[in-house]
Symmetry: C2
Subunit: 337 residues, 2 copies
Amino acid sequence: MEPVKVRAPSIRDVARIAGVSYQTVSRALNNSENIRSSTKDRVLEVIEQLGYRPNQAARALVTSRSRTIGVLTSQVANYGPATSLAAIEDAARDAGYLVTTTSLAATDSEAIHDRLEYLLSQAIEGLVVISPQMRVFNAIRDLDIRLPLVTLDSTGRDGQHSLSVDQTSGARLATRHLIELGHRKILHLGGPQDWIEAEARMTGFLDELIEADLDVRAPILGDWTADFGYTVGRELSRYRDFSAVFAANDQMALGLIHAFRDAGLDVPGDISIVGFDDVPDAAHYWPPLTTVRQDFAEIGRRSVAMLLAELNGQSGFGHEPILPELIVRGSTAPPRW
Amino acid sequence: MEPVKVRAPSIRDVARIAGVSYQTVSRALNNSENIRSSTKDRVLEVIEQLGYRPNQAARALVTSRSRTIGVLTSQVANYGPATSLAAIEDAARDAGYLVTTTSLAATDSEAIHDRLEYLLSQAIEGLVVISPQMRVFNAIRDLDIRLPLVTLDSTGRDGQHSLSVDQTSGARLATRHLIELGHRKILHLGGPQDWIEAEARMTGFLDELIEADLDVRAPILGDWTADFGYTVGRELSRYRDFSAVFAANDQMALGLIHAFRDAGLDVPGDISIVGFDDVPDAAHYWPPLTTVRQDFAEIGRRSVAMLLAELNGQSGFGHEPILPELIVRGSTAPPRW
DNA sequence: TGCAAAAATGAGAGCGGTCACATCGTGTTG
DNA sequence: CAACACGATGTGACCGCTCTCATTTTTGCA
C-alpha cells in the first residue's frame, strides 16, 4: 500500500469547513479589525481542530518578510559566542523572529561569500555577525549588503553597525591592574591574528604599557585554547624574565597556570596572570582567576534590539559600547621582585 | 524624494535580459539535462551580472522542500550542546541544508508546544532536539510530529529516533574506576531532575554500585554549574564520610574540587573526583580531571546523517550508540583508608 | 420603516518559483 | 526526401498566502 501523500491543510480547507471565504480565514489569522468576533472564533476553532498551520514560505513570498534573522558565526562552541548566540535567539524569539545560523567552515572570502549568499537567499531581514574576524568583516563590506546589519566587533570602525564590549578598555583595565600591583615585565598572550577582538585587546595592552613607560615585548599570538596556553606556558617557564602575563582569554590563562605549576612556579606567588571573559568556571580555577568580565548575553540582546530598531526605521540606537569590568581574584599579586 | 522600492530581480528579469524564457532560466539554475551548455552559460552570466538570487520562499512553496533543519535546544551556552550544535550546522551546511535554531525559554509543555509550532510552520524537513529533557520528549510525543526526528537523548527508549553517547555505560566506567581504585563510599552529584542524560548517568552509577554490593546513598541533584558544585562541596566537606565523588559533569566537578581545596582537603589525596564530558579545559584543571569523554561533535554529525537518511527513505541507520571513553588523569587515586 | 454609512465578507490577481505538457528545430533512418 | 524521434525551449497552471477592491450585510439615525 502506497501511503497517500497528504498535503497539510491549507487556508482554503479551513475556509470550506468553517463556511467562510479563505480571505476571512486570513483575516482571523492576522487579527484584522474587520471581522466579527463570532466569525473569528468559529474560524479559530476549525484551525485548532484541523491542526492548521500557516505556511511561512507562502507568507514570506507574498509579504517578502521572512521574520527571520540570519546569524553568521565561527567558533560557536566557545563560551562567548555561544552565550551571545543563545541570547540572540531568546531575544529574537520574544520578538517573534526566528534565527537561522550558519557557521564558517573556512575564512577565505569565497567561503564567506558563499555563506552570505545562502543566508540572503533565505530572505533574512537582518544579519548578525558574531565572527569578528577581519576577513569576514571585509567580505561583508565587499558584498555591499543592503540589509540591517550588526557585527559584534569592537573596533568602532563602522559605528553604524558595530556593537560591542569595549575590548580595548577592558585590556587596559587588566594591564593597569598588573602595573598597579608593581609588575614591570608583563607579557601578553594574544588571540589569533585575524580576530578583531584579539587585536583590540592587544592594542589596549600596548597602549597601557606605553603610557606607563614600560618595556614592550612582542605579544605571542594564540588560538584561544587552553592547550595552546599550556604549550606556551611550558616554553615561557624556561625563561622567567617576566612577572606577569595578560592572556587574551580565560582558557589560555588556564593553560598557562597549568604549565607554570608543572614547572614548579607558583601563581600568583611567582607569576601573576590575568584572563579575559570571566567564563563561569573562572571563579573556580585554581587559583581563582583575575579576569575581565564581559557580558556576552547583553551583547546578543542588544544586537537584536538594534536590528529590530533598524527594521522599524529607527536608527542610531544602542551603539554605546558596553563597558567591561575587572574582576580581581586570586591569580594576581604583587611581584616578588 | 521617496526612495524607489526596488524588488530583487526575479527569474523573469533574468529571462528577459538573456533572451530566453523563464523556464530556461529555471533549468540553468537546477542544472537540468535538457539545456544547451551555450544557453546555460549565457543565462548564468546574466545571473551573475544581475546579482540574481533565487527566492527560497518561492522555491519552498512550490516544492514543499525548505532545505532547512530545525533544532530545538536548551542550555546552548554549555559546551556539550554548543559543540553538537556547531557540528550539526557544519554537517547540514555541507549537505546543502540550513539550520534554524530555537531555544526553550521554559520547559512547560506550552512553551515547548509553541516553539515546535514555530519550527513546523517554517516547513522544516527534519527536527533535531538537543534538549534532552523528559518534558520536551513527552511534548514531542504528544504533538505526533510526522517528520524525520532525532533526539539526542540516551535512553534508547525510542530506538527509532534517538541517538546518543551511551551515558549509562559511561557512568559505569567512571564508577567502576573508582571502585577498582578501592573506594567504597562513593557519592554522586547528579544533573537536574528532568534531564534524560542526568538520569542515565545516575542509573549507571547506581547499577555499578549495586553490582559491587556497595552502600548506596541518595545522589544530590545539581544544575550542571561549577557554582553549584562549589556550594555542594562546602557542605559535603563538613561530613567527609566518603572518599570519592562522581560528578555528572566536569563543571560541577570543578566546583567540588574548589570547595574541597578551600576546606583543606586534597584531591585526589583525601577525595577522588571523576567528572563527565571531558570539556577541553578539563585537562588543565588542577588537578587535571579524570573524566568520561563523549564526542559531542560526532553526535551532531550523526544526527544530521540520520535525518538525511530518513529524508531519503533509508532508515534504521546510525543508531548504534557511541561509546564514551574513560580518561584517567590526576583527580583520582586510591583512598587513604 | 427606509436609507445611507460603516462594517463584514468575498473574489481576483499576483508574489517567484517549479511542474507538466506543448511546440519547435534538428538529426537519423528507410 | 519524407517520416519520425529526440533534445531544446516555451507556455499555462499552480503552490498557499496577502493585497486591493467589489459586494453584501449590518448598523445608526431620520
